[in-house]
Amino acid sequence: MTLTRRELIVTLLGAPALFTSGCSASPRLPPEGDLLSQSWEIGHRLRDGFRPPPSTDQWHDVGVVIVGSGVAGLSAARRLKQNGCENFVVLELELQPGGTSRSGRCELTPFPWGAHYLPVPLPHNRELIRLLDEMGVVESLADDGSPVIAEQFLCRDPDERVFVDGEWIEGLYPATGASEEDFAQLTAFRKEIDRWSAWRDAAGRRAFSIPIRHATDDPEVLALDKQSMSEWLRQHGWTSQRLHWLVDYSCRDDYGLTAEQTSAWAGVLYFAARLKEPGAEHQPLMTWPEGNGRIVEHLASQAGTRLKTGLAVTRIQSSQSRQRLGEVGNNAPISDEIGYEVLVFDTAKEQPIGFRAKSVIFAAPQFLAPRLIEGFSGRTGRSAEPFEYGSWLVANVHLSRRPRESGFPLSWDNVIHDSRSLGYVVATHQSGNDHGPTVLTWYHPLCDDNVKAARTKLLKAKWSDLADVVLTDLERPHPEIRSLVTRLDVFRWGHAMIRPRPGFITPPSADQRRKATQPDGRIHFANTDLSGIALFEEAFDHGLRAADEVLADLNSRP
């Protein structure tokens, strides 16, 4: 079922986009570009039972195997190293570390392929502040423990603008033509968010905090998870189209879900958790030309040669099970203590290899656990079922120069009001490069209810059709865009983000997530999906926790 160009435009941008895309059968496409994605071919082979055994001389003994080099895996590696445990490897299927925080680079500038900013952490998130300090991002600490961030890492003004009714205006709220009622509802909404940011439970915990394990489990707050963000707005009597758009955009931006699809708990968290106190501005954002790729680079440099890319883990099994299965035909010595064998396929050498480890940190998304961990599904209470992941389409659009335009000037984040895309960020913005060629990173979350169908659609699409979708969307604010593009690369993220739909935060899903977070023997789990929301802070926090569990394992050993 290959979609035609027109069908793809309608699917991804909506029918009105056809009017602007014109009727040309062969639209002007960029001179070059690549179609990129995660290595899903090997994933599908795995699903079909591909797990070749390594030969005896291809086994390596290590203390800890970390599966996955996303933010969680790399954070775990850093924690182990900083606590004196250096006997580990990080195994990464892709050729590049970072997971959804990975980045690319061209002669002009690095650019993000996924996550591209981080709000300045509140004082309680000391571990994250320590990481930022290590990176040279923190200049000092204020009296209350808030980090003072060096100016060049804070998102440079102008940070955002929105294209509404044919004009760019400052900020994100589509204020053009807004009525007094619109503004009154916006104010009331902000007041309600303020109320939530001030809310504390009996133990003094915030209603919404990041990482979320610092937040309350009070039923009043969790009750928000029973409804969607849109329902929550309507329940408050807020019907302003502009307010609904602002909230919907925020949900799509942070979770890849529309406001109708997002749990109100997650929706309110987005706004309330980043307020230091009522009335405060949203915490400022830190960003880099390559987005969170900069943090990945820092973390990866700490892992050094222990980070091994291009290695697909095909099986994680306990050594005992291998004995049980009578596979001990070779000379591999078997120790008495519980250990794990991690079967790996080296995609570069096309060769299976193996690691023996005392502990494993599974820092990959939960949906891969049943495919990789032997006997996973059989164990009580463990199921990857409730974990649902949305797909994203990300494009890096290389331009020979910036488009000519009027209205509020080019900003870091540039949002198109009447679009299903999220607009684009400008890779050269943070480096202060304001003239000449640039790279725009364009984002589009596929908010379909049927994730599988959407994913299949995305993975089957051709480069030319996806490139045309990107340009059709950008053509609205920038009619001359096609004549400026020198290169356009498209990345299809099949499993980009965990989806916090209503009910996912509270039981029974909450119990399943809690179970998934607990170790399975000496397999420890670390990934942002365990929090139910896809955030750097959550992935980092899970990485540290899993590493601490492993360190406790090691210390408890006689």
Binding site: Q152, L154, P409, G432, N433, D434, H435
Partner: protein, 514 residues
């Protein structure tokens, strides 16, 4: 005779009107060429003298050539008329374009003047010979010459009072051409009895073509210099170009020329010395034997002109975003003259890059003086050049005792903007000394001296400067640091990359002026 019957008194009168128009247009072309030459090349006495001389001699040449026209006088007259329309009409736009794209501009200029003169010189003798059949010789000479000189008077009044201020040079030229062409087309009807039917429609077709071309030219003239732009700037535009970075426009009036970037006045040749002496000398007087000087912005070369007066200066590094700006003097000789071709000096190195990126990336060199002459902080991309981050990066490029001076808009019009810049410099740990100078074109203007080391309380101009400076004396130099009460400090925030408060202040304060 057939022709005598049909050429009655009425059309004869109309023919005199033709003479009037022809004469007026002829003089306008001459004035246009003279004005344009003195605008573009400077030295108006020489330019006007040369243009008038060449034009008059060409008139003579045209008159001489007219004797070789034996037959078909009327047709020839109309052909000449159309040629004048085309060449004269297109002269100003063509010369402007040639100026920025052709090396041998003077050849094109004087060639055009000579061609127009020759054609205009042909017109009257031909017309007089056409009319001689119908008039007494005395009558003919007195009337034609009277209308000719009357036309000249008319043109010489119209040109400075209406054409230049209201239409600009390009539109004046195209409109005169259009008048000539209309006279040509009209002539095909007035002189119909003297024209053979053969080729008549072709002649009229050509006339219409010329009219069409000139109308297109008038419409297209907006892409060269828009009427709106000239009216906003208030003076005739003598040079305009659009670079990838900005719109560069030079205007000229009787007293001097002015540079505008994106519609903002950068200097007026009449009083720029006040601005540039005030920008440069306080900083260089604060450093003992300045050797390595950094100039940020200032692509006009006028600040560098002042810096090069110091014999101790071994090198000047000028960083200006726009190569179109740093090479402007090559295309506009009056600027080369004004800047004394300072950017061609062997001590000067030009770097065309965004100063923010250059300062961030350069590591090898340090400077003992820096002159910061950026445009006013009216946009975010300029606002970053006044941020704490920028000043911190700049400090890495300075020696311990280095002194910098910063132009910082008008402290009278935009006090919060001015004091925001001062406060930002203080925030990164500089010692500062705010000062001001009166630059009539701009009004009351603000600067600030800054240094990592304490700044001297009193300054004296270097001995090499004595006599060279037109504005500053030791006494005046020190008085610049006395701020009158109406320039007293006001509260302002520190300008950072992530708040860009300066751009907001500037927008509010200067916006309120408009």
């Amino acid at each position: 005779m057939q022709s005598e019957d049909s050429m009655n008194r009425a059309p004869l009168f109309l023919l005199y009107l033709n003479v009037l128009i022809i004469a007026s247009c002829g003089l306008v072309y001459e004035l246009l060429a003279g004005t344009l030459a003195s605008y573009l090349l400077g030295d108006s006495v020489t330019q006007f003298s040369l243009v008038i001389g060449i034009y008059l001699s060409a008139l003579g040449a045209g008159a001489w050539i007219s004797r070789y026209v034996d037959e078909r006088l009327a047709r020839c007259f109309i052909e000449v008329e159309l040629a004048v329309a085309l060449i004269g009409g297109a002269s100003a736009p063509v010369l402007f374009l040639a100026f920025s794209s052709v090396g041998a501009f003077r050849v094109v200029l004087y060639g055009t003047v000579f061609a127009i003169g020759t054609l205009v010189g042909l017109e009257l003798p031909l017309l007089m010979r056409l009319l001689k059949e119908h008039l007494d010789f005395e009558d003919l000479v007195s009337r034609v010459l009277a209308f000719d000189y009357l036309g000249a008077l008319f043109a010489s009044l119209l040109f400075p009072m209406f054409c230049v201020p209201r239409l600009g040079l390009v539109r004046t030229s195209l409109l005169c051409g259009l008048l000539n062409a209309v006279v040509g087309l009209w002539g095909t009807y007035l002189l119909r009895p003297l024209l053979s039917s053969r080729g008549l429609s072709g002649l009229r077709g050509r006339a219409c073509l010329v009219i069409g071309l000139l109308i297109v030219g008038i419409i297209k003239a907006d892409s060269l210099t828009t009427l709106a732009e000239e009216q906003v700037l208030g003076e005739p535009i003598v040079h305009a170009e659009t670079t990838p970075y900005q719109r560069i426009v030079l205007t000229r009036n009787a007293r001097g020329f002015q540079l505008h970037l994106n519609g903002h006045l950068q200097f007026n040749s009449v009083d720029e010395h006040r601005y540039h002496e005030a920008l440069v000398h306080p900083a260089l007087s604060s450093v003992k034997s300045p050797r390595r000087v950094l100039v940020l912005g200032g692509g006009d070369g006028l600040a560098v002109r002042e810096i090069l007066r110091y014999p101790s200066v071994a090198s000047v590094t000028l960083v200006d975003l726009d190569p179109g700006m740093t090479s402007l003097a090559d295309r506009f000789p009056p600027l080369a003259e004004l800047s004394r071709s300072s950017l061609k000096d062997r001590r000067v190195t030009i770097i065309n890059e965004d100063a923010f990126l250059w300062v961030g990336r350069t590591t090898e060199i340090t400077f003992d003086t820096a002159i910061i002459d950026f445009p006013d902080p009216g946009t975010f991309s300029v606002g970053k050049l006044y941020s704490t981050r920028f000043y911190r990066m700049l400090r890495e490029r300075l020696t311990a005792g280095a002194v910098i001076s910063v132009q910082c808009t008008s402290p009278l019009v935009a006090p919060q903007s001015y004091w925001c810049i001062v406060k930002t410099l203080e925030a990164v740990g500089f010692h500062v000394r705010p000062y001001h100078a009166a630059v009539p074109t701009f009004g009351e203007w603000g600067f600030v001296l800054a240094s990592s080391a304490p700044l001297p309380e009193t300054l004296s101009l270097s001995s090499e400067l004595s006599g060279a400076s037109r504005f500053l004396t030791d006494k005046i130099l020190n008085s610049l640091f006395d701020l009158p009460p109406d320039l007293a400090r006001v509260e302002a925030e520190v300008n950072q990359l992530n708040n860009q408060v300066l751009v907001h202040y500037y927008d509010q304060e200067w916006g309120a002026m408009k």
